[in-house]
């Protein structure tokens, strides 16, 4: 497993734990409070201009449950880095990186939509893929594949329309 390579000692005191990754990409795990400090350092000093992925992984039986994954790309040095951050379910809050990369806004909205992770500091955090009034977070491991009453919103809309039509008739 190749280590951090060029990022070896460059983390300036942000305590981190190196994680082995099958694809040999430098991978670091950090506490939630140091996330923004590390991200700013990565972007400004170490030249990671683009944010490729912001997503989460649900390790359901194991605590802390959610693992937020940020993956950055440096066009100048042509290399990537991945940052993990473990968060438990009852306090699923992560600082948002939209301040550093505006492009990460939709990724964070999708992570909120699919896992229920709240991103502090996100301008307009609402559901991205599921309809607004949807009550569940589908990608959680304890959510059934066929969903819980998938047609509830359609039925409400359908009934409201018929009610309006009926009262007019």
């Amino acid at each position: 497993m190749s280590g951090l390579g060029r990022l070896e000692g460059a983390f300036g005191g942000v305590e981190h734990v190196e994680v082995a990754a099958a694809d040999g990409m430098p991978c670091v795990e950090v506490e939630r409070d140091d996330l923004i400090a590390l991200m700013t350092l990565l972007r400004d000093e170490l030249g990671f201009e683009a944010c490729t992925i912001v997503t989460a992984v649900d390790h359901f039986p194991r605590e802390p449950r959610f693992q937020v994954v940020h993956q950055l790309l440096s066009l100048r040095h042509n290399d990537r880095v991945r940052v993990h951050c473990r968060v438990s379910e009852d306090d699923a809050r992560v600082p948002s990186v939209t301040g550093l990369w505006p492009g990460a806004a939709y990724f964070e909205r999708e992570a909120y939509d699919m896992f229920g992770l709240r991103f502090d500091g996100h301008a307009d955090l609402k559901r991205l893929l599921m309809p607004e009034g949807y009550g569940h977070h589908p990608l959680r491991k304890d959510f059934p594949h066929q969903g819980i009453e998938p047609d509830r919103l359609y039925k409400e809309w359908d009934r409201a329309r018929r009610h309006a039509a009926g009262s007019q008739g």
Binding site: H136, P144, I148, Y154, K155, D158, R162, A165, G166
Partner: protein, 206 residues
């Protein structure tokens, strides 16, 4: 124009005038089916290929693909219908003028296809009566053209003159009392038999 009383033709003998008029109206309708291409996903690309030069839909008078439901009489649901899109799809179906027909192109719109997930409608016939189902993922354009030919044969057998001169129907609540769910999810067999529609949850309304 004197008041032409609609001929009280019983189901069997159409009477000479009614059957000839039926044939004329049906001939006009079946050869100018203007499709409303609701291209949702991969079937939409095959739909475009069908309108393209090789599988030219113009041979069947159906190449005038309009994107406004007001000028269409054939709704082709091409692709995977999700619950979020179901409202828009049902609104578009309602906004199409009568007479209108529906082709469920591809397995996703016919029965939910490979997606048995939390977000996919398990078959468009849960929302609206479907006339022709086209299997395939995506079906080859010639399969959809075959579906249009079958639809044309179905139109030939319709009897429009009987209700042509009838009084305008004011069914503000719902057209012909169907709607809601024609088929419960994953029920397999569609309860929708042509002619009588069973509204699944009609009873619950206030």
């Amino acid at each position: 124009m004197g008041s032409l009383k609609p001929v009280e033709a019983s189901a069997t003998d159409g009477g000479f005038f009614a059957t000839r008029a039926d044939a004329l109206v049906n001939w006009g309708r079946k050869n100018s089916l203007w499709p409303m291409p609701l291209g949702l996903s991969c079937c939409g690309i095959e739909l475009m290929a069908m309108l393209g030069p090789k599988f030219d839909l113009a041979r069947f008078g159906a190449e005038a693909a309009r994107f406004t439901p007001r000028q269409c009489d054939l709704l082709i649901v091409a692709g995977t219908l999700t619950w979020k899109m179901a409202e828009a799809c049902r609104t578009i179906y309602d906004q199409m003028p009568d007479p209108k027909w529906v082709i469920a192109m591809g397995v996703c719109s016919s029965s939910g296809g490979m997606y048995d997930s939390y977000a996919v409608v398990q078959g468009v016939d849960m929302l609206m009566p479907v006339d022709v189902y086209v299997p395939g993922c995506p079906p080859r354009p010639d399969a959809v053209i075959d579906a249009i030919i079958k639809l044309q044969r179905k139109i030939e057998r319709e009897r429009p003159v009987k209700s042509l001169l009838a009084e305008p129907v004011r069914d503000d609540v719902w057209d012909e009392g169907h709607g809601g769910f024609l088929r419960q999810p994953n029920m397999g067999v569609s309860t929708h038999r042509s002619g009588e529609y069973v509204a699944a949850d009609e009873g619950e309304e206030a």
